[in-house]
């Protein structure tokens, strides 16, 4: 391979810029080009660029690419295994959303906001600079709040989201400023550094929707469009921020990370348990997303590679599976309005293909053998048992409740008496393509997990190494 680090940086830049170019094209050619085509082209370009960056990293010797001086303990451009894993993942999620989104979602400025949000997420995943992360958080939160506010009936949700995220941004800004003043990456944190770490942890807890700051999570799924909810939650930007800012302290795994992990475990079990009694599909997806995304954090604080690999695998598997469930729910909603699961809805005859996809995504989300989530659960349970027995028990409880919630949702949506003159909606080609692609990834990586798990092991090793190398005396401004 003749690719150089500059090729990788160029690929990441293309990944970030492609959605922005899409926004510009849409603005310049208002109503002359099909917004969906432009969005698909932009995100596909991002996906190809992300895959290029990932391929480069896989062929490299695991050395991160760091561009820009490490001002205040972070690099403006930081591309490593985690970036290589997450960029294609986010691009796939965004592409699926763009493919499945009903036509009305492209009628307004929605598509431009979606592309802008994708660009901000890609940029976030390619930086480790505290100030850059804070600014990108702020941009993303303001854009999301505006988008939710413009949704019909979304004002209350926008208030919930906006208020909680305002606190998160304040904590993040002050916390990163304190971390910059007293970087804990060199020789352990002083008072300012410790306070900064705790404030960043608080910001992460809020943005991540961990107990006791989780309430916005199901509210977002209930009050915003499903595209917004999925775009905001599936990339797990808060988890990424925690990895960049809280991992790698000179005095080992910081207490903040341990607290976050325990809160995450509780959130995972609590969210899955509450998912069992939800009244509508959106709330169900919201609770499951809250639960599953928390599981990622439970593993990221681990000290053994197995647990970290499990966390990263859960990051991808739960994200793709829940995106699938959310999009199937959206497809059903676009055909027949809000879907209650308090009673049997009898939608099987209406949309048998969507029933099949919902079930398969459900199985892929709940750790069914042959899916990526089975591998992920196996790794995270084996790893967490090595680390903490209570973590393994809570993970088992989470999978138990989540499975019941998913199957209850499926039976409620698709089971039940069907009226003879009920409408019949066949699945659209673009929907089938998106769902099939997601399933191919979930089942393909579940049936042949070796290479993927190996690459996760490399990412985990580099994350663990970053926890230990901090004691070295390399000045912050100098790159390895």
């Amino acid at each position: 391979m003749t690719a150089t680090p500059s090729t990788c940086v160029a690929a990441v830049a293309a990944c970030v810029l492609a959605p922005l170019v899409g926004v510009a094209i849409l603005r310049l050619t208002e109503r002359r080009l099909d917004p969906r085509i432009v969005a698909i082209a932009a995100i596909t370009t991002s996906l190809v660029a992300a895959m290029t960056a990932a391929a480069w990293w896989h062929l490299s010797d695991d050395t991160p690419i760091l561009v820009g001086h490490r001002l205040a303990g972070g690099d403006l451009v930081h591309i490593d295994g985690l970036t290589a894993l997450l960029l294609p993942y986010v691009a796939v999620v965004d592409l699926a959303i763009v493919l499945v989104a009903p036509r009305r979602a492209f009628a307004s400025t929605g598509v431009r906001r979606l592309l802008l949000g994708a660009a901000v997420t890609f940029a976030t995943l390619a930086t480790a600079h505290p100030a850059a992360l804070t600014v990108l958080w702020a941009v993303s939160i303001v854009a999301t709040t505006t988008t939710i506010r413009s949704t019909i009936g979304g004002r209350a949700t926008a208030r919930v989201y906006g208020r909680m995220m305002a606190v998160a941004i304040a904590c993040m800004a002050i916390g990163t400023a304190l971390l910059v003043a007293d970087p804990p990456w060199i020789a352990g944190s002083g008072t300012k550094g410790a306070a900064g770490g705790w404030l960043v942890a608080l910001a992460v807890m809020i943005r991540k929707g961990l107990i006791p700051f989780h309430s916005w999570y199901p509210a977002l799924f209930s009050g915003a469009s499903l595209a917004t909810a999925l775009v905001v939650t599936m990339p797990q930007v808060a988890t990424y921020t925690a990895v960049r800012l809280l991992v790698g302290h000179a005095d080992g795994v910081p207490h903040e990370l341990v607290v976050l992990a325990n809160a995450a475990l509780l959130t995972a079990a609590y969210g899955a348990a509450l998912a069992v009694v939800q009244r509508d599909v959106r709330s169900l997806v919201g609770m499951l997303a809250m639960s599953q995304s928390a599981m990622v954090f439970a593993g990221l604080s681990g000290t053994v590679p197995t647990e970290l690999c499990g966390a990263l695998a859960v990051w991808v598997s739960s994200g793709l599976a829940l995106t699938g469930i959310g999009l199937v729910a959206w497809a059903l909603e676009s055909r027949g309005g809000t879907i209650s699961i308090e009673t049997l809805q009898g939608r099987f005859a209406d949309a048998p293909a969507l029933a099949g996809f919902f079930l398969l995504f459900g199985l892929a989300a709940l750790g069914f053998p042959g899916t990526l989530s089975f591998v992920a659960d196996d790794l995270i349970i084996a790893g967490s048992l090595d680390d903490h027995v209570h973590a393994g028990v809570l993970v088992i409880l989470t999978t138990f409740f989540a499975a019941i919630a998913v199957m209850r949702g499926w039976f409620r949506v698709f089971g039940g008496p069907v009226t003879v003159d009920a409408p019949r909606h066949s699945i659209l080609l673009r929907e089938r393509v998106a769902f099939t692609a997601l399933l191919v990834i979930l089942f393909g990586l579940g049936l042949w997990p070796g290479p993927f798990v190996h690459s996760l092991e490399r990412v985990a090793a580099s994350l663990l190494a970053s926890r230990h190398h901090a004691t070295s005396t390399v000045p912050l401004g100098e790159h390895p």
Binding site: A156, R163, V276, I396, A403, M407, A460
Partner: protein
């Protein structure tokens, strides 16, 4: 379990075929359905028939090879899925005196039910769905029976659970079928925690999930390799898992309702294979039971209790399939008691003979009633007298109470619902209401905290 290393290639291939064939059938009929181009009915039944028939013949071949070697256990390593640090996931199958006869019997039965279902479900809207689930079940069954480690066994066990629940809810337009499917799935899931827990204990105790680290020697004379308390913990968790799958008290409520599914699936799941999955797991770890008398006596108590319960309740059922369900439950209870009492070959023979008889009865049940009515019409009255019952010997007052108890299904479900399900769901719904109020406060709106079904729709 004696491990003699890799088997000769032809026999290894025949063992591997037990997984490959049903999985290939699953893919062959599932993928076209996924892309909206399902196979024709004839092609579907032929593909599944070919898979199960070839599995049956291959299993017979392995049985002959195994008999020639004196039924010494042999391990087939199908490959490693992944490895991280010291944690490895691989697919190891074991061919021994328990697994190979069992797989012969299960694949043979699947072949026969496939042939029956091809006619029985002709032009049924869910025809392809049924055969997809049958292939999934077959894959899971073979995976579970041939498993050489707890991880592989767990994977097969999960396949059985989901295919069973989906087949109970096969007639999705019927409210009762959907409720029964969800009830069965929840029961399975509760008891799956036992198998999950056993897997955790085994991994912590031995550092791996391989059965070879738990016991050595050939079935049924294996020797336990783990300490007494560990054996007790593992067997208790296995027994907990088995209670759900084998519909034992207090987890028996789902079985009579499971008959909402199509007759062929009722026959193979609840008359033959799925209901004995728990017994199979206990037979697999029989040497651990020898080291865990507490679990053995618990199995005897629960088994006999369930057999009595099912015999009494079954005697007042008014439809044929419910009667057969309770009859299956009775026999499953007796089989568990036999295992607890230390028998090994007897429960295996009992499983096979009961499964064959019961599946025949269930498959015959739709036409049996019709035949009986025709016979009654021809004879001008009911053929034969009503059967004599020991209940007639009991005092009138006692028999009346017994009748009431039987009608209420031993109050088993009432107790479980009142003391377990309702309190748990009430707590969850209270938490959900509190969440909604808090979100409403944050959003400045009124919360929707209307009262709902106290069972959360899980009743």
């Amino acid at each position: 379990m004696t491990l003699h290393g890799p088997m000769p290639d032809p026999v290894s291939a025949l063992v591997a075929w037990q997984l490959v064939a049903p999985a290939a059938a699953l893919a062959a009929i599932g993928l076209p359905a996924l892309v909206g181009r399902p196979l024709s009915e004839r092609a579907t039944t032929r593909v599944v028939s070919l898979a199960f028939s070839s599995c049956f013949v291959a299993a017979l071949g392995v049985l002959v090879a195994l008999a020639n070697s004196g039924f010494a256990a042999q391990v087939v390593h199908l490959g490693r899925l992944f490895a991280v640090g010291h944690h490895t996931a691989s697919i190891d199958l074991v061919a021994d005196g328990l697994s190979v006869p069992y797989v012969c019997f299960s694949t043979g039965l699947c072949s026969l039910v496939n042939a029956f279902a091809g006619k029985y479900l002709h032009r049924e809207p869910g025809f392809t769905r049924f055969f997809i689930l049958l292939a999934l079940f077959g894959t899971g069954m073979n995976l579970m029976v041939l498993a050489g480690s707890i991880d592989v066994l767990f994977a097969g066990w999960e396949f059985l659970g989901i295919s069973s629940a989906l087949l109970i809810g096969f007639f999705h337009e019927r409210r009762n079928a959907v409720d029964a499917a969800l009830r069965a799935f929840v029961t399975y899931r509760i008891c799956d925690v036992g198998l999950f827990g056993a897997s955790v204990v085994i991994h912590r105790a031995t550092g791996t999930g391989d059965f070879a680290t738990l016991f050595s020697g050939d079935w049924p004379h294996a020797t336990c390799l783990v300490a007494g308390p560990t054996a007790v913990a593992i067997t208790l968790l296995f027994a907990f898992a088995a209670l759900g799958k084998s519909a034992q008290v207090p987890f028996s409520g789902w079985l009579p309702r499971a008959m909402e599914g199509p007759t062929p699936s009722s026959a193979i799941f609840y008359g033959a294979l799925s209901i004995h999955a728990g017994a199979y797991v206990l037979l697999r770890c029989e040497s651990l039971l020898d080291a865990a008398p507490l679990t053995a006596w618990l199995l005897v108590a629960v088994g006999i209790g369930t057999a009595l319960h099912a015999a009494v309740v079954g005697s007042v059922q008014t439809d044929l399939k419910s009667m057969l369900a309770y009859a299956s439950m009775t026999q499953a209870g007796i089989i568990l008691a036999e295992i607890g009492l230390g028998f090994r070959l007897l429960p295996l023979i009992h499983v096979v003979s009961h499964a064959i008889l019961r599946s025949l009865q269930i498959l015959r049940s739709p036409s049996a009633m019709h035949d009986r009515h025709e016979l009654a019409a021809a004879l001008g009255g009911h053929p034969g007298q009503s059967s004599w019952s020991v209940v007639r010997l009991l005092p009138r007052n006692l028999s009346r109470h017994l009748y009431h108890l039987a009608l209420e299904r031993g109050f088993e479900e009432t107790v479980v619902s009142r003391f377990v399900v309702r309190p748990l769901l009430a707590a969850l719904m209270a938490a959900d209401r509190a969440e909604r109020r808090w979100v409403a406060v944050l959003g400045g709106t009124a919360a929707d905290t209307s009262t709902r079904d106290p069972n959360g729709g899980l009743s």
